[in-house]
Symmetry: C2
Subunit: 483 residues, 2 copies
């Protein structure tokens, strides 16, 4: 399993390089190299001899609980690998590389048709993958379960349906609150932003000896072991918030990766629980902590040292209101915590229609714009700010977006529990100490690796399954609205 | 063969990252990942089925000359791979990673004993490798032939013996020439140096869409295909020459890699001929062109635009004399063209003694210092400027250094032919055009890939085997000394 992990992590290094440093003419060879690594990992992981070893282990009586879980989860992974042919794995990897580069180019040209052929091919492969993996109900479930085993379209439809009305109601109450957040769009030089970003990620607990930050088109986190975790950020001279929240968000992911049991490299117990739980970590830091007045009580003075001119008129009250301003907008990663879920719902709707065969790829832009009008009442001016904004589809990651909403909901639920378990934690944050948060997350979340599902983890930590009540209570408290 | 190349190039990406961006705690996992990739490439390349295919191809009558050469060279490589066990390949890769990190740390502490245990282990493995590969005469030959098939210790001993007296004679005549090159040690801000270095590599013909430059401890070139060639440089604020000649040298390597037939990715015809020929390219650019007054006639005014204050007192005459100043020194990569060969000879002597079993690793520093006193009459003040200066031994690259001298000698021989074949090329260079050089190298050297040995290439291009006369004539002309 360590050797399979070595190959997968090697592929992750090549992908990281692809999104940070790869020269443009290197694309074709890189696509082939990634395809060969995927095929190699698949060959090792679907080897009959490995299957027999895992069966033998499974039947042994002398394993402890952790060994049992590691064995059965690995066997589950093995059985999934056996469903694929090497040729399919290779063609999927090649299609992803092609789609990624087409997406970059389409964004550059602000033209969806540049992306369309590659995305059409990739979507066809993902439909085939639904059949390869098998599913109950909607073919989308096959992919959804790759990212979040505990859920399906039935649960998600109900969850989003239940969120819509109360969220729209809240947004209606908050959208006209007058907040002058224009200072976020002042000129913030890139080198100063970079310098501050390095301060910020370290302040949050990112271990720079066990990882690094670079710059990329779309901020992301990847890891090659718990001791080598890479995050990226994006610097826009006229948008301070972009850097701030991408750094906090990705550091949330990174702290999870750096906190995973390194001795269990290659085993389920050394891996993250699910993408929803991963996202709960980034959203907990980004929102519950990073948009709280407690955090900025200690950190605003520091931020002002980096940008004294831009921020000299900004007091705590205005700063915190500004970073929590509710306003329907075009870009998911920049959305406030309430409208955010509509961005996710829209993508979820489109993905289901794509994989269900109701929506051809070429109609994505029209459908996208229609849904933004319907749910957020905004006009999408161009594709770069519309359906080309996210990298995920170019990676073939259908089923990934819902974990963003699930993650935000888990974050609120964990945050409520964290506060209950750690009296005074918000005062500590206000005085600059994040130790209580780190300790709680390490013990409650990181230490379990992938041995518990999202659902089991939620029950273990909070005593109940995912419940949207925690999120609604959290935002109502934040915005001072009576329940 | 393409898939084997994919795995090898993937390993090269991980190594590139190791020397440029890897966070320190990532070392252990990276070493394991590299070992697994080496083992995987070896498994694919020593597969019996591949051997049979190659045998079948070898016996076919309908192959053209290129197909025949590709087949027999690949079969030769295959037979070499068969000599290794997977376990040996893995342990060698792990020993190299360990030695590389020990070397970094030893340099930091300026303490050879920090490097000694890892180097001792690696040297033992390299001795075993001599037996695995087999050799005639000295066990060193097994390694030498990995880098330069056309040579052996007998030929090298004779070559170095023949060079010593005339070189010492020349050095004696030139060492007291008065040249004030103090301006090379003025303060040159790193950002300005970086900016100029990017101008310089592009000026020399480096295609930045098919490669990139980064910063590393020890400048190097690596490639992941002919369309993705990475070079690195080192920036020292008090040493302009360091950046200048590392950029020109590495660009020489890079132009070769970018000029190899990309369609033959994974085949001998798509690979470089040998390390000697590779080095002939870097040395031709570094010395024959990069230290010529022709080149700087066009480029000194540009350099002065970047560093007007530091260079305002420096005219062409002084600049060219300064960059060709002959003076015994400590650091190989900064040596003039004459004393350079003694740096190589010293390493060659030590390597032979190490692999022959006469010299224990722990006695390297004493032996090193003794040889520097004997050949260059200088005292080595510390290990960082002594036996810890080069990365090669940490990579287990014994037998590599001699290719530096061979490369310099081939460079002079090719340069003489290039000038003969391309009338007016030096005037063109003086007017800023390098097209003639690029065209000649592409046709005469790059296009052949690995289909010709160094020796065959030399005969084909210049009509004779390696002959030190060309180098001696070249330096005598440069320094205005009658033959």
């Amino acid at each position: 399993m360590q050797q399979i992990a070595d190959i997968k992590y090697a592929a992750a290094v090549l992908q990281w390089d692809q999104e940070t440093y790869l020269p443009e003419k290197g694309n074709a060879a890189r696509a082939r190299q990634l395809a060969t690594l995927s095929e190699t990992a698949h060959r090792l992981f679907s080897d009959d001899a490995l299957g027999k070893l895992l069966q033998t282990l499974q039947e042994r009586q002398d394993l402890d609980e952790k060994e049992k879980s590691n064995t059965s989860l690995t066997l589950e992974d093995y059985n999934k690998q056996k469903k694929y042919t090497g040729a399919f794995v290779r063609s999927l990897s090649e299609a992803v590389s092609a789609a990624f580069h087409a997406w970059i180019e389409a964004r550059r040209q602000n033209d969806f048709t540049v992306f369309e052929p590659a995305l059409t091919h990739l979507t066809e492969l993902k439909k085939q993958e639904s059949d390869i993996l098998g599913y109950e109900g909607h073919p989308y479930n096959a992919h959804l379960k790759e990212y979040e085993k505990s859920t399906d379209t039935g649960q998600l439809d109900a969850l989003f349906d239940g969120l819509q009305a109360p969220l729209k109601n809240l947004i209606g109450q908050l959208v006209n609150r007058d907040t002058d957040n224009s200072f976020l769009r002042f000129h913030y030089p890139k080198d100063k932003q970079w310098e501050y970003s390095l301060y910020l990620i370290k302040k949050l607990g990112f271990d720079t000896a066990a990882g690094r930050q670079d710059v990329s088109e779309h901020p992301f986190t990847t890891s090659f072991s718990a001791r080598d975790v890479r995050i990226t950020t994006r610097l826009d001279e006229h948008d301070l918030a972009n850097m701030l929240w991408s750094c906090i968000h990705e550091t949330g992911h990174a702290l999870y990766e750096q906190g995973l049991p390194d001795d269990d490299y290659g085993l389920p117990s050394g891996e993250y629980a699910s993408l929803s739980i991963h996202e709960s970590q980034s959203r907990l830091w980004e929102n519950c902590i990073g948009r709280s007045h407690h955090f900025w009580e200690h950190e605003l003075p520091v931020l002002k040292q980096y940008f004294p001119q831009q921020l000299n008129q900004v007091d705590m009250h205005r700063f915190v209101r500004s970073i929590n301003k509710v306003s329907p907008s075009l870009i998911r990663t920049e959305a406030d915590e309430l409208t955010y879920h509509f961005h996710v719902m829209i993508r979820y709707t489109i993905e289901k229609e794509l994989l269900g065969g109701q929506l051809p790829v070429k109609e994505i832009p029209a459908r996208w714009n229609e849904l933004y009008k319907e749910h957020l009442d905004i006009q999408v001016p161009d594709h770069r700010q519309g359906c080309l904004q996210d990298v995920h589809w170019s990676h073939g990651s259908f089923g990934y977006f819902p974990t963003y909403s699930l993650g935000s909901l888990y974050a609120a639920q964990f945050w409520a529990q964290l506060k209950k378990d750690t009296p005074g934690v918000q005062d500590d944050i206000a005085s600059g100490s994040l130790t209580g948060v780190h300790r709680w997350l390490q013990e409650k979340v990181f230490a379990h690796g992938r041995l518990l599902t999202s659902d089991a983890l939620s029950r273990k930590i909070t005593g109940e399954p995912l419940n949207t009540r925690f999120f609604m209570d959290y935002v109502k408290e934040k915005y001072g609205i009576e329940s």
